[in-house]
Amino acid sequence: MTSNSYSSATEHAHEPQLRGLKRWLLTTNHKEIGTLYLIFSLTMFFIGGTMALVIRAELFQPGLQLVQPEFFNQMTTMHGLIMVFGAVMPAFVGLANWMVPLQIGAPDMALPRLNNFSFWLLPLAFSLLLSSLFMEGGGPNFGWTFYAPLSTTYAPPSTNFFILSIHLAGISSILGAINIIATILNMRTPAMKLMDMPLFVWTWLITAFLLLAVMPVLAGVVTMMLLDINFGTSFFNAAGGGDPVLFQHLFWFFGHPEVYIMILPAFGIASMIVPAFARKRLFGYRSMVYATASIAILSFVVWAHHMFTVGLPLAAQLFFMYATMLIAVPTGVKVFNWVATLFHGSISFEVPMLFTLAFIVQFTIGGLSGVMLAIVPADYQYHDTYFVVAHFHYVLVPGAVFAIIAGVYYWLPKWTGYYPDETLGRWHFWLSVIGVNLTFFPMHFSGLAGMPRRIPDYALQFADFNLLSSLGGFLFGLSQLLLVWVVVRCVRGGKPAPDNPWEGAEGLEWTVPSPAPLHTFSTPPEFIPERDSPSRA
């Protein structure tokens, strides 16, 4: 750092305003970068969603209709990778970029140039990943968990590109996490203590630490794959003295915290929206913070619940079973707090609130099937069936994705200066709820009946459930076009929004004009904890 870089956070205010493509390529503004992240995430959501619809179209009825099994495997793999690393994670980073500085009263992120770099790594990473579909031998086809030796000995030649793109996405996440932590810890408006921060900021702070801890493990795993494939090492190769089970341990040591990386910020969003539309302060602010931290810490000691069937010793199975069940306690605290916030509130049901309430109910369903999967003897039965698919889609789609959409509706007036269209929003909500549940609820039953994951064809007895899932999938997928329409209309115009568009909403982000000007809080805003803190008595 040069000696005069202390002014880096604000110096771009004096730079000449760039236009066109260059403005977006070179921007260091947290709002513009946030918008870029969100647009990127939406694009990936539709690409990954199209792949999901290829899968659902093939599974519409038994037999092979549309695609070859090899291509089907590429679709399941790419769908998972794109949705996890390309859609959900960047959406949360985008929301953090937009809202964290506004919520803590900072003029920008702590490291604006690094911020630009971490964003632009992503389009590069995902163009690489998507291009592998067109390479000789096809793209990744080993499942999003890329278990060795499927992803080493038996992998297509394009796997090196897959590894590189995971590395790039990982570096982007790590840099983003560093930036967010540095911003939150140093750039809060004076008088805002940690325990005065909005919960979206808190959950992101904890998420960023999780990212910092586990993304290097992911990078390590793919590096070992690279060495095994190209340089004759045998980390995961039994023939050379390695151990394929080691891959699974390492992958899930990253993978389980990763699922919390994708859900903790969603908890934060729900904890912003529920109080706003119940017109009450959040019940149990402190316990929310402690619950988030406990979930994050526990996430490091439960990874082997994904591996109950590899032949773990009994003691290990018991430990991982109980540790996993223990996570239900802090999670239950959160759900309890949201419900207690609703209790005796004066609730109104605007679109952000509808999505948040659906999030709470549907996430809880996903949490409950998670507890079922934690039971070792039951897991022997459920392992690798559609029951698992139903479980993780419930926490991710009607869970995390619904929370992201809720956040978008909640903050859109601040971004564009207009309210999103209420009628269209309601249509979007109801079609999404019906579609998502029609897709994923029947998967519980096909899974319990024994339908395995990741197959392009299935036995006749699963036909009815799959028919429902496919119909629901297309309904849900197509109704997301409504979201695009709502957002485009909202950018163009609509009912003008005041600084604080929601009657019960609190927080510094609502003290700046709507739409938020490019530069806000060049002087730190006034913050009186007794009046403004979400944790005040």
Partner: protein
């Protein structure tokens, strides 16, 4: 914001960056250490069923004539390997503490000389620390000319303190092709 408080803020950010980088180095170091840690952990506990990969020392703790443990022999060749590989005896009842010898037969059915290595696995995994290989063909590579047949032994002892609830062990060998030096 005046330039003084801005400067303290930038110093704070710099300090945070340093210890975040330190943390990151910590997680990278931890990742690198995970593989050797896993190997040591598995060797101590035997939970991956691999057992020890070199000749072990005979334990003279006496023979438990009262107990019979069935040892099963399972063989397989890796995908694409044109070798025949079998155990001369599929199972044998032994007393814990006794020393036994078993024979395996391998034949190169291909047209060229090949080299292979058998990788053992013992299940249930908790038995692997009680199964001592005093001599095993799996410690070395085997080189066979086209059509050549080789009979190879494993000499083993099951420790007499084998846990009471174990009545049957399976010793599985997978034959993998070896390339390179």
């Amino acid at each position: 914001m005046n330039s003084l408080s801005l400067r303290t803020q930038q110093q704070g950010i710099r300090r945070t960056l340093w210890w975040l980088l330190l943390m990151l180095c910590g997680s990278v170091a931890f990742t690198v250490a995970l593989v050797p840690l896993y190997d040591v952990f598995c060797e101590l506990t035997g939970i991956n069923g691999k057992g020890v990969n070199s000749a072990q020392v005979l334990q003279s703790t006496g023979i438990d004539q009262q107990r019979n443990v069935e040892v099963q022999m399972v063989t397989r060749t890796a995908a694409g390997m044109n070798w025949h590989f079998s155990a001369t005896l599929s199972h044998k009842a032994v007393h814990p503490g006794e020393i036994h010898q078993m024979w395996f037969r391998m034949q190169n059915l291909g047209r060229t000389t090949g080299r292979a290595r058998a990788v053992p696995s013992i299940s249930p995994a908790e038995a692997s620390n009680y199964f001592l290989k005093l001599e095993c063909f799996c410690f070395n590579d085997q080189q066979l000319a086209a059509g050549e047949v080789l009979e190879v032994p494993v000499v083993f002892q099951i420790r007499s303190d084998l846990p009471e609830d174990l009545h049957r062990l399976t010793l599985a060998y997978t034959l993998y092709p070896q390339t390179g030096p």
